[in-house]
Symmetry: none
């Protein structure tokens, strides 16, 4: 339900700690999940005074990407608000996206010309080294600064990938993104021409077309990366910012660009972290503590090690977090939630659909239902298995930020 | 889903016992909730042959008022059907509300006239004693019986509060309630003029305006309560009655006006209770047993003691109820549900969002899953954590009042 009519102006602070890809499955060797295998004396103690349960990030059986995973725990329906591939690529390489931007993901590709027609030979230009990608993006950026008054912003990703922003002088509507991919998904055929489905998209497609022609000229003499394919045209989704939706001044403590970008989409202020350890992040949290009502604190490596199938390393990250837990708990008058954005089981080496362990530390809990903070123990908890978008209403309730509904 | 197409004409009786504000949290001293601390040999026995679980009254994190709390367990979406403050005030003081009524909550206030303009000095007239309120309402009622053919009905609440009904000669639509509060919520300014947003509301606002002028004349010589402020204009919500929605002839056994009023809104017949103990209520239930298919049996004091933070008293009420339980169970061929409309934790001294323990006593249960009827033991039960509006379909199923859905 709509929370705006029952929001209070004041309340306790909320600290949402997201261990990315936290949930897991038993190791075939030991039968234990990383959370079960880890030695976590501090979590073991905390969990006894906390409400526990597991959240379902998107829906039963649905494996979320980072976008939907985070939107859910931020309280935005990940099905209603779908973030385009272009936007996620741009956020991932650290570009800021504005309301005036048409954003798309690019691949360097190899084409051969038959008469004047380019025919795709390799859609990824032999997965060219990131370093070569950087040089080409520099060259393109120097040659193509704008098209018909539309600013062009390019930034390299890994290997053959990059992000492109077409920055218009006016705010774009969701209609503007209705442009087909120019990547036909197979080799041996010409790239597709960008065409718009709507009037706004047709105008934008004209700009894109001219950009592709200019880029092809600039890249003509390249041996492998002599063409560009684009996919996932998207505009910035219209998400009611945290301040308006929840009355919260929200800060983000994260190391990776993607998560800072997602936080920025929902109106959080990004607190820049020097370094990339949990300790570095904690230092920033401490310094900014007085300035915000809500903190999103993101720990990436649980997911990275899950993706690598590195069970032992995932255990170590959990133990490192546990060792720092007393510092997190020492903040006064604060509701703390520890969870993940999705599961990343080591045996799957990928994100998965499995519900994610969740703990809410607050005085207003039954508590004592889970012996440890693990997948199986959280099943015994008072929160049950719940949709991730219900997490924020629960945190607002625990932080005494919601009025009674109805007399 | 819509139950009407699958309703049977016959079935067992249903007895829904609502211990208001039943759910609670552990006491900091003992770590036990009132349900855990209470000695309840009869509930302990009953729970083993019952289905158990917890219901969420409105939604995750949402703390319900009495209106939404009861609508949910009666099977009406508390978000879709919001009951206006005026209606609840009228129900609370024991007024019957009809389809032809515009209902509003009133405050006696103190104004000072600057030339002819009233300026609010005290929005609550110094919280005048209830006895003085009663005398003023008598005086107003004697002087203002009707305005332009619209009957005026006034009844005192506590201190400065009262309920006012403007009874028209025609049924009012929901448009009629779109009138602004005349209470500006601050002192030092004049009261607001009532204005209607719609044609129907504009006509009604004219009546209200004339009423306020007459009331000001009647109260002119009063020292503190010399003006009236109105807020929460509301018409009776259109709720499909129990008889039509469920095919149930429903009776209400309750002591407090608010709950009788809520029951009347959904078409229950009110059985007048002499006295205010659970025994007094039980006597009425026994006498009326043959005449109804469904009983709503309301016990108030669990909530009152929760609101007072009176842990020991809440325990005693639960024990008193437990002592009478054998009499409730002795009714033949009957499905019994014991639950609350919301939680009222003693440590919070207020309603809360926490799920509410629920028990269904019926032959068609797994049973044996909860050792006692407590918050934590109900978490182990076969009903899980479920939305309150699903309770009525479950009770209809257990009472064999629903046909198979589909062939």
């Amino acid at each position: 339900m709509e929370l705006k009519p029952i929001l209070k102006k004041q309340g306790k602070k909320i600290l949402l700690i997201v261990l990315d890809g936290l949930g897991d499955l038993p190791s075939p060797e030991t039968g234990k999940t990383p959370l079960e295998a880890a030695l976590t004396p501090n979590l073991d103690k905390l969990v006894k005074s906390s409400a526990t349960g597991l959240h379902i990030p998107v829906d039963y059986g649905i494996t979320p990407g980072s976008g939907p995973g985070h939107l859910g725990i931020f309280g935005y329906s990940p099905v209603k608000y779908q973030i385009g591939r272009g936007i996620l690529e741009a956020l991932g390489v650290g570009l800021e996206v504005k309301d005036t931007d048409l954003v798309v993901r690019g691949n360097f590709a190899t084409v051969e010309y038959q008469e004047d027609t380019p025919i795709i030979k390799d859609r990824r230009a032999g997965r060219l080294p990131t370093e070569e990608n950087r040089k080409l993006i520099e060259k393109l950026s120097a040659s193509i600064k704008e098209i018909d008054g539309v600013k062009v912003i390019l930034k390299s990703g890994m290997e053959h990938r990059f992000a492109a922003i077409f920055r218009f002088s006016k705010t774009l509507s969701p209609e503007a993104e209705k442009i087909n991919d120019t990547d036909p998904q197979i080799a041996g055929v010409p790239p597709l021409e960008p065409k718009g489905e709507t009037k706004e998209a047709q105008e934008a497609a004209q700009v894109v077309k001219k950009f592709l022609q200019k880029a092809a000229e600039v890249l003509k003499s390249e041996k492998r990366a002599n063409y560009i394919l684009l996919r996932g045209f998207s505009v910035k989704p219209k998400l009611t910012p945290f301040s308006e939706k929840y009355g919260l001044k929200a800060g983000c403590v994260a190391v990776y660009p993607m998560y800072k970008g997602l936080a920025r989409l929902v109106g959080m202020e990004i607190l820049e972290v020097k370094g990339n350890s949990i300790e570095d992040e904690l230092l920033i949290l401490k310094n900014a503590w007085e300035d915000f009502d809500f903190f999103f604190f993101h720990i990436k490596k649980t997911d990275s090690y899950g993706e690598d199938g590195a069970f032992g390393e995932k255990v170590k990250i959990i133990e490192a977090f546990d060792a720092l837990l007393p510092e997190f708990i020492s903040f006064p008058e604060c509701v703390i939630c520890i969870t993940g954005d999705h599961s990343t089981p080591c045996i799957m080496k990928s994100h998965s659909w499995h519900p994610v362990p969740t703990l809410i530390y607050s005085p207003y809990v039954l508590g004592g239902l889970s012996e440890r903070f693990t997948e199986k123990e959280c099943l015994k908890g008072e929160l049950g298995i719940f949709p991730s978008i219900k997490l924020m209403p629960l945190l607002l309730a625990h932080s005494e930020r919601l009025k009674k509904f109805g007399a």
